[in-house]
Symmetry: C2
Subunit: 243 residues, 2 copies
DNA sequence: CCTGTATCATACTCGCCGGTAGCCATCCTA
DNA sequence: TAGGATGGCTACCGGCGAGTATGATACAGG
């Protein structure tokens, strides 16, 4: 009976995590071949997403057809559809792949033993690198209007998580005296905006690496435009300034 | 002979300039009626562009059809095409309308009698307001990929003009001692990026006006994250800090 | 009243592109 | 070696949307 066979496609796994615990145990199982095929499938799936990110980077989401992506992979369009359900999901996966390193940066910063400003700097450094990565464009430019309500909500919540994380670090830094008093909301917007915008002017084969750009930006944020006394400008670790 | 009649459409005038010197003289010309029609045409044309900007704001460029814009104006699609040649030009005009106030801000700042930081602040204030304006989204999001090479080049040059203007003000401020030493290129990117990003989260009917947002951002840039000595934080006009 | 021009609508063309139907090859498993 | 699962292809559909052909109306000038 020729009913739909395509339903049997295995559910998606998180795009970027490198096969967490599945391949470690049961090395000589009789299903080894099947497991290897599954792993192959993940590799191919990631290649599809990577190709999509690359195409979106260069031509934009709407100017990229799935035929383009298929051609870049030297396969046909239905093959792409074998790995993802639709174009929208491609954008979504690229977004997630881009934002994931930022989330882990927050987790790592949390267990860092330093003042708020240093922790914030650590996060912003990873943030900048993520924006300059191959998924940066997709992460930054994924728009509500191009996504279904459910995915849009998902993305919104992830973005909000990042935003709240920055605000929290700002507040903590202000409490421990390592950050100049400011409005956390506006400051977080300014910081994230400056870093997000990297995706607009940064394309591969640039002279600076993502890390270098992030470092340069952080220096700007840290010092501000107004001139500082020399002693203060050279200071590294912050305590309460005068109080 | 039914050849193309549409060629007779009058050439476009700069979108936003308010009928510069045409209506001042020759008030009783016999072509008064014809001149009035021309003025009407300009008004309608601007309405079309404004409607396009509004639609692009809400749904994005690619998700907006010219039927949408026509419907918003309660006219039909050919009417829209009577005032603009194609969709691309609509985006371009929106971009120009958005960026023009920034250019005038630079011109005004140039004849301002103040140090570099103050002049930069004045420009950034107008910059922020422009980004938060009805054309802000179009100005910020107009992408090369959606435009023909010639228009893309035009937009690129306008953007570059703004960028170079910011860098120049930074250098001037560093020379007169009102701005902390920094890399002008990276700092300009950071400033412009933060302000550009306003277009992503700012939608009308927000609690803050564009001017308020710009002021808040400028305060962030000016102070920086590192804490400042109280005397320094309160300082207003800058001279050389300690040298 | 006649003619040209400005303005706008109805009703189309047409290409692109997201997504699918159906078929074929291969390979693992029993 | 049969038979199912897996992975891939060619060929198509359907709709959306940019842009247009054609003609109707309004009005100005002679």
């Amino acid at each position: 009976m020729p009913t739909s066979r395509r339903k049997s496609a295995p559910a998606r796994a998180p795009v970027k995590s490198g096969s967490p615990a599945v391949t470690t145990a049961l090395q000589r199982s009789p299903w080894r071949a099947s497991r290897e095929r599954l792993r192959d499938r993940q590799i191919k799936r990631e290649a599809v997403i990577r190709a999509a990110a690359h195409a979106f980077n260069h031509k934009g989401y709407h100017n990229t057809s799935l035929d383009d992506i298929a051609a870049a992979l030297e396969v046909s369009k239905p093959t792409v559809y074998y790995y993802v359900t639709n174009k929208e999901q491609l954008l979504f996966e690229c977004f997630v792949a881009g934002i994931e390193p930022i989330r882990t940066a927050f987790r790592k910063a949390r267990k860092l033993k330093a003042n708020g400003r240093e922790r914030l700097k650590a996060v912003l450094g990873h943030y900048g690198q993520a924006v300059a990565s191959e998924f940066g464009w997709c992460m930054v430019r994924a728009e509500d209007q191009d996504l279904s309500p459910s995915m849009s909500a998902h993305i919104k919540s992830l973005k909000s998580e990042i935003d709240q994380g920055i605000r929290r670090l700002l507040r903590e830094g202000m409490q421990d005296g390592s950050i100049h008093p400011c409005d956390p909301k506006m400051t977080a917007f300014a910081l994230a905006g400056a870093l997000n915008w990297i995706a607009h002017w940064y394309r591969e084969n640039q002279s600076m690496t993502g890390a270098e750009i992030a470092a340069a930006f952080i220096a700007v944020f840290e010092n501000g435009l107004s001139p500082r006394a020399l002693a203060e400008a050279g200071r590294r670790s912050g305590g309460a300034p005068t109080a």
